[in-house]
């Protein structure tokens, strides 16, 4: 069993490497096939008029070499752990990514925890009270979750809870006038707990709540919908009737018999939700001025900063693949009948 699992993981890691190679290739193809001019995108009009500046710029980024040479050069550096230097920020892309990553990790994990707990809870309640008013209300909430444009929803929540009610701070990760956390993991809530600084914990948590809820809302909708339909299907099985006829309480039937058997698709959709979250991040981080990977991706894409775009894409794609691998391993944990081949 352990050996099979190890073999499975190793094979998947090879596949991951191949796919990441593909991702880098796609960015490279786009960056060279598009009719846009990275020189024009990154230099000001006055700089463009100076041929020396333009020539220096082209030489610096190897823009005068053939495409495949540029790609090989890039790949060689990548294997050494060098993602290149961002055109926009002028710093190594890897440094930028590591700088912004803790903020995104904090936000996405919080959003995911909220989404899974509420999603499964809503889905179960919805299935148990099928076609009753509670079911209808919860289904409306979950379908709203997948239909709300996250950029608008963020704005709405922000204008109500930060603008009108003033319950929450209106963006950022922490109040920079009160706290200036340096060192540590960069995940402010975790750092605050480790340092025992409860004032800082309260402040960073207050900053985290709104963007986290907005971000988690979409995934919550996905999970709730999937939970409901799978649980309903599981509830119609013979073993549920058997369990009930044994005189087992309804709560135990749902929790121990039906939900266990409905978990696999729920895990799948949670993984999809997490990946979706990485996309929704762009909007939520922009509106709540959350200094994370999403904002970095947006700024890099709009300025056509290709080293940064490639770095961010590889970074998110590997997160995505890692999540998928984790999910596949979870299948076996949840359902012992599943064997890794």
């Amino acid at each position: 069993m352990c050996l099979a699992l190890a073999r499975f993981i190793v094979r998947r890691l090879f596949l991951m490497a191949a796919l990441l190679l593909g991702v880098s290739l796609v960015v490279f193809l786009i960056s060279h096939l598009v009719p846009s001019n990275p020189v024009a995108a990154n230099l000001s009009q006055t700089a463009m008029n100076n041929p020396d500046t333009v020539a220096a710029y082209i030489a610096k980024w190897g823009l005068d070499k053939p495409v495949h040479e540029q790609y090989l050069l890039y790949m060689r550096n990548l294997l050494k752990g060098d993602f290149g230097t961002s055109i926009r920020t002028g710093r190594p892309v890897l440094d930028d990514l590591l700088h912004y990553f803790p903020a995104t990790l904090e936000l996405s994990v919080f959003a995911m925890v909220v989404a899974v707990i509420l999603g499964i809870l809503f889905g179960v309640l919805s299935a148990v009270f099928k076609d009753q008013p509670l079911d209808l209300a919860l289904r409306t909430i979950s379908v709203s979750g997948v239909s709300l444009p996250s950029f608008w929803f963020s704005l709405l929540i922000m204008s109500v809870f930060c603008g009108k009610l003033k319950w929450f701070p209106s963006g950022g990760r922490i109040n920079p006038r009160l706290f200036n956390p340096t060192g540590g993991t960069g995940i402010y809530t975790l750092d605050a707990i480790m340092w025992g600084n409860w004032g800082m914990f309260a402040d960073s948590f207050r900053h985290l709540v709104l963007p986290g809820l907005v971000l988690g809302f979409f995934t919550m909708g996905l999970i709730a919908r999937q939970t409901r339909s799978n649980l309903l299907e599981a509830m119609s099985m013979d073993y549920i009737r058997t369990a009930r006829s044994k005189g087992m309480g309804e709560r135990r039937v749902v929790a121990r018999h039906a939900l266990n058997n409905a978990l696999i698709p729920i895990i799948t959709v949670s993984g999809m939700g997490f990946c979706n979250l990485l996309g929704g991040m762009v909007f939520v981080e922009k509106i709540f001025s959350w200094p994370g990977i999403g904002q970095y991706a947006y700024l890099s894409a709009t300025t056509l900063d290709f080293p940064a775009i490639c770095g961010v894409s590889l970074f998110i794609a590997s997160t995505y693949l890692a999540i998928n691998l984790f999910i596949d391993i979870m299948y076996g944990v949840v359902d012992p009948r599943i064997r890794y081949q």
């Binding site: 991702v23 009719p35 846009s36 608008w152 909007f283 922009k286 894409a301 709009t302 775009i309």
Partner: protein, 284 residues
Amino acid sequence: MFKIGAAICALWLAAAFLAGVLAPFDPIKDQNVNRRFTPPNKTHWFGTDSLGRDVFSRVLFGSRLSIAASLATALVSLFVGMAIGGIAGYAGGIVDDLMMRFSEMVQSFPPLILAMVIAAALGPNISNSVLAMAIIWWPNYARLARSLVISIKENDYVSASKILGASHYRILVKEILPGAIGPMLVMCTLDLGNAILMFSGLSFLGLGVQPPTPEWGAMVSDGVLNFNYWWISTFPGLAIFSVAIGANFVGDGIRDYFDPKMRREDWRETRKRKKEKKNEEDNI
């Protein structure tokens, strides 16, 4: 749920077609700085924006773009996906391998980032954002088409057609396609809501439709700049939300219709069946 969704969609379709008649003001030209930031009132139902344009008229006209763009995205990805997936599934072997690996490559890319890069690189406008979305969407359709074709091509009527000397093109289009189109269209309707969300999202980020064209996502981003005037962003946002929820309801309904396990019985049918059963018993 399906009926509510269909009603919402029908309403928006009507709005899109009749925008020219229904809109009380011109959505672009009717600017008047003297009446900018007017809150909603009897003349301007949804208020006016930073240039004094009527938000209601702009929301009405915006429906044209959103609906057309999402339909275009879904259809383009449907056709491209169907062609590539269909050929891959039908040909098998190395062609299949190459095409599917290519689609996986595109899929392993973070979708929104790819869309942002393409839209930014090609230049932000309507057709480029549709193109960007189609590029990230087609692999889903290709995978579905491939799996459908693989199962359909084993049928006897396909073999019969092959024995009769039909060309590959004829077999694919006349024999296999009719069986595959249903599930593909279901997937298409399920995607419409997402397409609307992503299209307006790209416009919101400034990578889609450019001002002064009335588009919902761009209008919401206008509201971000004018944060204190809630109506500027609220109404276009509600429009996106309602279209997306309508499309999701319709998509769910169609999916359930094609999936017999999920089909719920209408109460009238239940009553009819019970009546018939009772009649049968009475006859005995």
